[in-house]
Symmetry: C2
C-alpha cells in the first residue's frame, strides 16, 4: 500500500522541516499583498490551519484570484519553521493547483461570524466551520472512547433492532414503519387497518430503547452494551429534544445497583478524561467561543468555563444520595421557599426537573450526584422493587449544566414481582413472553443504564442546542439533507 497522504495535523506535528511536502485542503482565508500571499489551509484533520506562503511572482494572477475562502487547493512546497507568530510550521509554495473553486458571491460560509441558526440551515456545509469541525471531531472522539472503554472492560457490543413490534417503556410516542399503501391501506373484516399485510406481518415502529433486547444479551454474554440510534415521535421543539438520537445502553449480568453506580461513574470519568487528553485544541476553541458568548450574560447566569467544568466532574467523587433525601433538601432550600423554582417541589413523589437536578449539583453538593431509590410510580416497570414497597432501585446521574446525564437501575429479576408490576401498569405479559424468559430460566441480579450520546456531547462541547451536536438533526417538521 502507498504511504497515506499527509494531513495538516501530520505536518503540524511533524518535526521534519525543510522537506518537500504535498497537502490538499480548503482555503479558510487568504491575506497579503502584491508580493506575497498567506493562505490559511484546513483539511478537517485538526482545527489548526497550516499557513501557505505564496510568492506572487511565481504564480499566475488569474489563478490566485480563484484561491478564495472555501476553494479546494493542492500545494507542493517546502515545510519550514514559521517566522510568524501563532503557528509552528508553514509551507513555501512551489506548486499550487485550484482543485475546486468557491465563488465568493455564492458560497455561504464566508470568513465572518455566522449565527448557529444560519449554520443549521446549511448543515451540509457547517462541517467546514471551526466550531462544527471541533464539535464533530469531539463527537468522534467520544464515540471511540465509548467503544474502547467497553472493549477494555470485557463488554460485547450488541446491535439491538431498530424496527420493533414492542414499545419498551410503554412510554414514548413512536414512529410507525410501514410499506402499506398510505392512502388506501388494506382493511380487515372489522374495517381496521390490516397490519398482517404490512411488510413484517404486524404493526411495527422505530425503537425507543434497546434495553429489553440488551437484557437478553447480558443474560448470556454477561456484559453487553448497545450504541445506536433511538427515536421519539414527541412533538417537542426544544433545545434538548431530537426525534432521532444516539443512545448507549450497557447491561450487566450479576451487577447490583452499587456495581451499576460504580460503572457509571468510572465510565463518565473515563470519557471526560479522554476528551481532555485527545481533544484539547478543539476544547480550547469551544471554551473561548463560550466565554465570548457568556460575556453578555449576568454573572449569576454564567456557566463554568468549559475545561474547568470537565475537570470538576473528573476530580469529584459523585455524591450518592437517595431521592427521599434529595426531596427534603429541595423542599428546605431557599430557592423553593422563595418560589424561585419554575416547578415548586411540593413533596415526596414529585418527578424532579432539570432545575432541581442542577440545584443539587451546582448549589447544594457542588459535585456530580447520583440519586437512587425513586418512587416506583415515576419509573419504568422493569426496575427492581425495593423492600419498602414504595421505591425502586433506580439511579440517575446528575451533572452541572444539563441535569440528568444517565438514567439506570437494577432490574427486577424476580419473575412474580415483575409480572405483577407489568399487570399493574398494564403491559401485556403475553407479548413480552420472550423478555420474561430471562426471569424464567437462569435469572440473576442484573443492572444497566442509558446515556444519551447527544446529552453527553452538550456537556463536553458546551454547546447549548442539541441540534448542534448531531450532524443532521431530525426534529418536528424537519428532516432536511
Amino acid at each position: 500500500m502507498k504511504t497515506q497522504k499527509a494531513t495538516v495535523k501530520d505536518l503540524l506535528q511533524s518535526g521534519d522541516c525543510n522537506q518537500e511536502v504535498e497537502i490538499r485542503g480548503w482555503v479558510r482565508t487568504k491575506r497579503g499583498n502584491k508580493q506575497v500571499n498567506f493562505i490559511a489551509l484546513n483539511d478537517g484533520s485538526t482545527i489548526n490551519n497550516i499557513q501557505i506562503v505564496v510568492e506572487m511572482t511565481n504564480f499566475p494572477e488569474e489563478m490566485m484570484k480563484k484561491v478564495t475562502t472555501g476553494a479546494a487547493i493542492y500545494v507542493k512546497g517546502l515545510l519550514v519553521e514559521s517566522a510568524g507568530s501563532g503557528q509552528s510550521h508553514e509551507i513555501q509554495a512551489k506548486e499550487l493547483v485550484v482543485l475546486g473553486e468557491a465563488d465568493p458571491e455564492k458560497y455561504p460560509i464566508q470568513p465572518k461570524k455566522h449565527s448557529l441558526e444560519f449554520l443549521r440551515d446549511v448543515a451540509h456545509l457547517r462541517f467546514r466551520t471551526n466550531i462544527f469541525g471541533a464539535v464533530f471531531r469531539i463527537r468522534h472522539a467520544m464515540a471511540f472512547a465509548i467503544h474502547q472503554y467497553f472493549n477494555d472492560h470485557g463488554f460485547y457490543y450488541l446491535h439491538t433492532p431498530l424496527i420493533t413490534a414492542s414499545d419498551c417503556e410503554g412510554a414514548g410516542e413512536t414512529f410507525r414503519v410501514t410499506t402499506l399503501d398510505p392512502k388506501n391501506p388494506p382493511l380487515d373484516e372489522k374495517g381496521e387497518v390490516d397490519f398482517k399485510q404490512d411488510f413484517f406481518g404486524k404493526a411495527t415502529n422505530l425503537t425507543v430503547s434497546g434495553q429489553l433486547e440488551g437484557e437478553l444479551g447480558a443474560m448470556a454474554l454477561g456484559k453487553i452494551y448497545t450504541f445506536g440510534p433511538t427515536f421519539r415521535a414527541e412533538n417537542s421543539n426544544t433545545t434538548r429534544h431530537l426525534s432521532e438520537f444516539w443512545m448507549i445502553e450497557p447491561e450487566m449480568a450479576f451487577y447490583d445497583l452499587e456495581d451499576n453506580m460504580d460503572l457509571a461513574e468510572d465510565f463518565l470519568k473515563y470519557l471526560i478524561r479522554y476528551a481532555l487528553e485527545h481533544c484539547m485544541d478543539d476544547l480550547k476553541f469551544l471554551s473561548a467561543r463560550l466565554q465570548e458568548e457568556e460575556k453578555n450574560k449576568k454573572a449569576e447566569d454564567r456557566s463554568m468555563e468549559l475545561i474547568e467544568k470537565l475537570n470538576f466532574v473528573l476530580t469529584h467523587s459523585f455524591e450518592r444520595v437517595s431521592y427521599t433525601e434529595a426531596v427534603e433538601i429541595l423542599m428546605n432550600s431557599k430557592q423553593n421557599k422563595n418560589g424561585k423554582f419554575q416547578y415548586p417541589v411540593s413533596g415526596w413523589g414529585v418527578d424532579l426537573q432539570s432545575e432541581h437536578e442542577r440545584y443539587l449539583v451546582e448549589k447544594h453538593f457542588k459535585k456530580p450526584v447520583i440519586l437512587t431509590g425513586y418512587p416506583k410510580e415515576i419509573k419504568a416497570f422493569y426496575m427492581k422493587q425495593n423492600p419498602d414497597g414504595k421505591t425502586v432501585a433506580a439511579m440517575d446521574v446528575l451533572f452541572p449544566q444539563i441535569g440528568e446525564i444517565i438514567g439506570g437501575s437494577q432490574r427486577e429479576e424476580n419473575y412474580d414481582k415483575l409480572v405483577n408490576r407489568m399487570k399493574e401498569v398494564g403491559i401485556s405479559t403475553e407479548s413480552m413472553s420472550y423478555y420474561l424468559d430471562t426471569r424464567r430460566f437462569g435469572s440473576a441480579v442484573h443492572s444497566g443504564f442509558g446515556l444519551g450520546f447527544e446529552r453527553l456531547l452538550l456537556f463536553v462541547t458546551g454547546m447549548g442546542n442539541i441540534r448542534d451536536v448531531i450532524p443532521f438533526p431530525r426534529t418536528p417538521k424537519n428532516a432536511e439533507f
Copy 2:
C-alpha cells in the same frame, strides 16, 4: 471503585492458583455421581467453560437437583490446576448458591444439538449456545476493530441520519416512517395523502445508505466513516438478505480510485488479522462445526476450512482486474461454455452474479479480486465517469465464498458531468441541491466504499445464513423480539 467481578475468562487466563475466587454464570452441563459432581460453568465472557468440582456431601441434595442446564449459580471456592484433561483450571466449590433455576422440562436450550432454524425461533435465548456466543463475540470484535482501524488512520466517525426524505441511489425500496393516522390519513386538495401534516412535514423513509451525507462530511473533515443501520424493504426471503442491516461507509476527500483500493485491501486485511489474533477460540469452534457440516457435502462443494480461508485473504495481494477483462475470462471459461453458470455470461455489459465473482476468485485467480471500470449503466449515478464514456471508476472487492464484499467508487467531482448524469437517470437535481453544493464549492477528487457488516461476518464466522450473524434479524413477515 470496587474491583470488577472476575469472569470465567479472567480465571482461565489467570496463573494464580490456590486462591479463593468467586464466580457467577450459567450451567452448561452437570455430570458426576453420588460422591462428586462436575459443573461446566459459562458466563459468556469466553466460549470456554470453567469446571466446578462439587463434593456432594458438602451440599444439600435438594439444592444440587436445581443445578441444571441453564440455571444461574454463584460459586465460591478454591481455584486449582485441573487434574482432568481439556481444562487448565477448575474450582473446588466451598459455597454454591442457585440464583435462578431453569426447569429442564421447559427450558428450550438443552445440552444437545439444536438446529439453527430452531434457535432462530428462540433468538432471545440462542446467545446461550456455544455457536451463537462465538458468533456474537466475533461480531463485537469486528465492530471494535473497525472503529480502531479508522480511528488509528485519522478518520472521523459520522452519524448520518436514519430517517431521511431522500433515497440515495433511487434504487432500493424503502420503509415509510410516519405518524399519520394509518386508517384515515389527512388528504390534500387533490385527494392525495397530505404528507405536509406528517411528523416531518413531508414523506420520509428509512435510509438505504449514508453515503451522500458521508460525502458532505468528507468534503470538510477529510476522512470520515459511517457505521450504522441501513434498511431495504425488498421482499427477498434468502440467506443473504436482511431488511435491517449494518453498513460501514468510509468516504475520503482527495482519494482517487487507487487510494480507495489500497484502503479497502488494507482495511479488510486488518479486520481478518484482528479476528485471527483476538478470536481464535471462537474461530476454532466455528471451524470444527463447519467441518462437521461439510462432511455431508460432495468434495467439490466443500468450502475451504475457516481459518485457512481467513489466511488465504491475508496472505494474497488482491488481484486488480478490469470488468472488461473479467467478462472476457468468464466468457472464455469452461464453466460458461459448458453452461455450468446459472446465469450465462453473454457479453460486455452484463451485471455479474455471485457465481461469476466466486469463479474469478476461487477458480481463476485463486486470490481476492478487485474489479474496476464497470459499465456506467449498471452502477450508481454518482460514480466518476471514465474518459471512455462507457465505464465508471467503480470498484468491487470479491472474496471467496461470498463474492462481493465491498462496493465502492471514486465519485464524480465535476459539477456538470454529475448534473448531466442525474438528468439522464431521472434524479431530481433540485431536491439534491445540498449534495451538489459539494461540487459547487471547493470540489475535489474523492472516493469511498461500502462494506455490509453482516456480509463480512458471514465470511469471518463461516455461517451460511445472514439471519445467524445479527442478533435479532428483520426479514419479510418477521420482526420478533
